[in-house]
């Protein structure tokens, strides 16, 4: 048995302690889960008070559609974090996938003679690439036994450098005709709701079902809570962990295939800091950064909360533009305070 990175004898004790105390503080738990919702409601009230246009359907749709990218990635990130891992590369990964997909569609359009086919294959390629990148992460982390922080810090640089190389530092742009064909995937709507919002909803529901209603979901939580115990309970830890990274990769792929038609271009600034936004959404939503427990609903609310803040700031000019980032920081800390608890 190889020595685990953190086999401190205290770890199982604290985990067991949490287990024991959690049920007795049921109401506190419930309040904790309500923290992000409370934060979001307060923000929305503030937003409406500051600008009456905030509560319009158009604005709500804008915000939700914008959230879709980060939100979908955050759902995948939620699994990785609950299992006790982390992925810093998702922003760069999204950028590289976007660039590769655009180059592929530009090539496949004329090559296959069917623009529609090229777009469909391109969208498929986004998901496949995401899954492959995730698989590479998972294998390096489990079989290669390298810390996830280091593996994904490495690929963060690698992915973005390759995109910069492919684009010569400029932008990779989708050909006009193909871009028009692909546009409805972002700009189109179904029953008055934009397509990315629907897909965000589906991804969140599927994510919640996997996490709460399947054996796999329970294994993910078990590993994050105590990897050693999960191993003794005959859980195939490596396989479960690899799958969480693949799942996240697929989520990044889905987010990217929705992102590409928005601007029809990818540049070295695409997806910059998405990893931090996704991680922040997960943590603000009530998932513990050290793993073990978390919720998809919280993550979705966390993601919406983050984009609502910047939306409100754009809709008003009462605060100096120089302080926008500070407001964001304050709100994140306040919401985290509202849902504090287990330590």
């Amino acid at each position: 048995m190889p020595p685990e990175p953190q086999p401190s004898p205290a770890a199982p004790d604290t985990a067991a302690g949490q287990r024991a105390t959690a049920p007795s503080h049921g109401w506190a738990e419930r309040l904790r889960a309500l923290g992000p919702v409370l934060g979001l409601v307060l923000l929305c009230v503030a937003g409406t008070a500051l600008n009456s246009d905030f509560a319009t359907l158009d604005n709500v749709m804008n915000v939700l559609t914008r959230t879709a990218f980060i939100g979908i990635i955050a759902v995948g990130m939620c699994f990785v974090i609950i299992s006790g891992g982390i992925d810093l590369s998702v922003g760069s990964m999204a950028a590289l996938i976007a660039g590769s997909v655009i180059m592929f569609i530009n090539w496949a359009g004329p090559a296959t003679g069917s623009p529609l086919m090229a777009v469909i294959l391109g969208a498929g390629l986004a998901v496949v690439l995401g899954a492959l990148f995730g698989l590479a992460h998972g294998l390096l982390i489990t079989k290669g036994r390298i810390e996830p922080f280091i593996v994904t810090l490495g690929t963060l640089g690698i992915f973005r450098a390759y995109l910069t190389y492919f684009s010569n530092g400029g932008a990779i742009t989708l050909d006009n005709e193909l871009s028009d064909l692909y546009a409805p995937v972002y700009y189109g709507s179904l029953l008055g709701v934009q397509v990315p919002v629907w897909i965000f909803l589906v991804v969140a529901i599927v994510g919640a079902l996997i996490l709460n209603r399947t054996a796999y979901g329970r294994y993910v939580q078990a590993i994050g809570s105590n990897e050693q115990v999960a191993r003794y309970a005959a859980v195939n830890v490596d396989r479960v962990k690899i799958l969480t990274y693949v799942l996240l990769g697929v989520c990044v792929g889905i987010a990217t295939l929705l992102y590409v038609p928005r601007l029809g271009s990818a540049s070295p600034t695409t997806g910059l800091l998405w990893e931090l936004e996704a991680i922040a959404a997960v943590i603000v939503g009530g998932t513990a950064l050290k793993g073990g427990a978390g919720s998809i609903t919280g993550t979705v609310i966390g993601a919406i909360l983050l984009s609502v803040i910047s939306n409100i700031l754009n809709l008003t000019s009462i605060i100096s533009v120089y302080l926008n980032a500070a407001v964001q920081g304050f709100v994140i800390i306040i919401v985290a305070f509202l849902q504090r608890g287990r330590r």
Partner: protein, 321 residues
């Protein structure tokens, strides 16, 4: 013993003489170092392209010229590379595009102290004695020209929103110049100016929110061609037709092409701020040094209005920008 000492002294003198004559011979060659930020966005992509283009063209023309290009991802990496250029590459001339003004003043001053001729590009150092020459684009004109153009096109009356880049002195200079022109037009209202980080996605979001907030906008100063791209997408999504003018900035090839072909009636002008100035700076420095001459202390590459008439002079289809 005395003869021995004398011999040592003689050898030392001879060695010193040889050593002294070597740099004298090498002096005729110009070993030029170029230090620029890495290609992390379109504009820097252009800077990298034009720096490499300058190396290709100038080394072909001049046998005595050697150009070494280094790209850095941040200020401290750039400082390290400047050290390497002096100690390892042994440059005698330097063209540097500093990441930040303050952080790189000392490292550049050290290169100059070692005897290299230093040309600083775009961002001025906080201590100008650390440089021999300064070559830059015109940030005041970058803000003034669009303000004048928009004011004239709107007939001195209307609502404008503006986007800003990243909070830097360069961005402030542009915004101040823009504002000072608008002071002369009391009927033009600048509704708001928010940061969109010279980034397409951020420009898209900020514009969406502007469109939600303001029901009547006559002109948008996107202040950068990358940001103008995001602005256009946001407008077409909101299906708004009140915006008459969209003014970018810098002269990216796609934007210049749009103006040249008259493809979009909202985009009829742009202001030049071409990354090609790095090419000019390298060329000016190399050629002056080959002749043993100096550059004027400050060279400003003017920013000019690009319209349909002169667009073809600014169109470089091979450049990534």
């Amino acid at each position: 013993m005395t003869t021995f000492t004398r011999r040592i002294a003689l050898t030392a003198v001879a060695a010193a003489a040889i050593a002294a004559s070597l740099p004298a011979l090498a002096q005729e060659k110009v070993n030029l170092g170029v230090s620029i930020p890495a290609a992390t966005h379109s504009f820097m992509g252009g800077i990298n392209y034009w720096a490499n283009q300058a190396k290709k063209d100038l080394e072909k023309q001049h046998k005595d010229l050697k150009i070494t290009i280094k790209t850095a991802a941040n200020a401290s990496e750039q400082a390290n590379q400047l050290q390497d250029l002096t100690t390892v590459t042994k440059i005698n001339a330097l063209v540097v595009f500093p990441f930040e003004s303050a952080a790189l003043t000392k490292p550049v001053a050290q290169v100059k102290a070692k005897g290299a001729y230093v040309t600083v590009v775009d961002r001025g150092l906080t201590d100008t004695s650390a440089q021999d020459a300064y070559v830059a684009g015109d940030n005041t004109a970058f803000g003034k020209i669009p303000a004048e153009y928009i004011a004239k096109q709107l007939g001195g009356k209307g609502n404008i929103v503006a986007l800003r880049g990243i909070a830097t002195t360069l961005d402030n200079e542009r915004m101040d110049a823009f504002n000072s022109v608008l002071k002369g037009y009391p009927d033009i209202k600048l509704l708001d100016a928010k940061y969109a980080n010279w980034n397409r996605d951020d420009a898209f979001k900020v514009t969406q929110d502007y469109l939600t907030r303001f029901k009547n906008i006559d002109a948008i100063w996107a202040a950068d061609d990358d940001m103008a791209f995001g602005v256009l997408k946001a407008i077409s999504q909101a299906k708004r037709d009140d915006i008459k003018i969209i003014f970018g900035g810098a002269g990216a090839k796609d934007m210049v092409k749009t103006i040249m072909d008259g493809k979009d009636k909202r985009i009829t002008a742009d202001v030049s701020y071409s990354p090609k100035f790095i090419y000019d700076a390298i060329k000016l420095t190399a050629e002056a040094r080959l002749k043993g001459e100096k550059l004027p202390a400050t060279t400003i590459i003017p920013s000019v209005l690009i319209t349909k008439d002169n667009a073809k002079d600014f169109y470089h289809p091979d450049s990534p920008f």
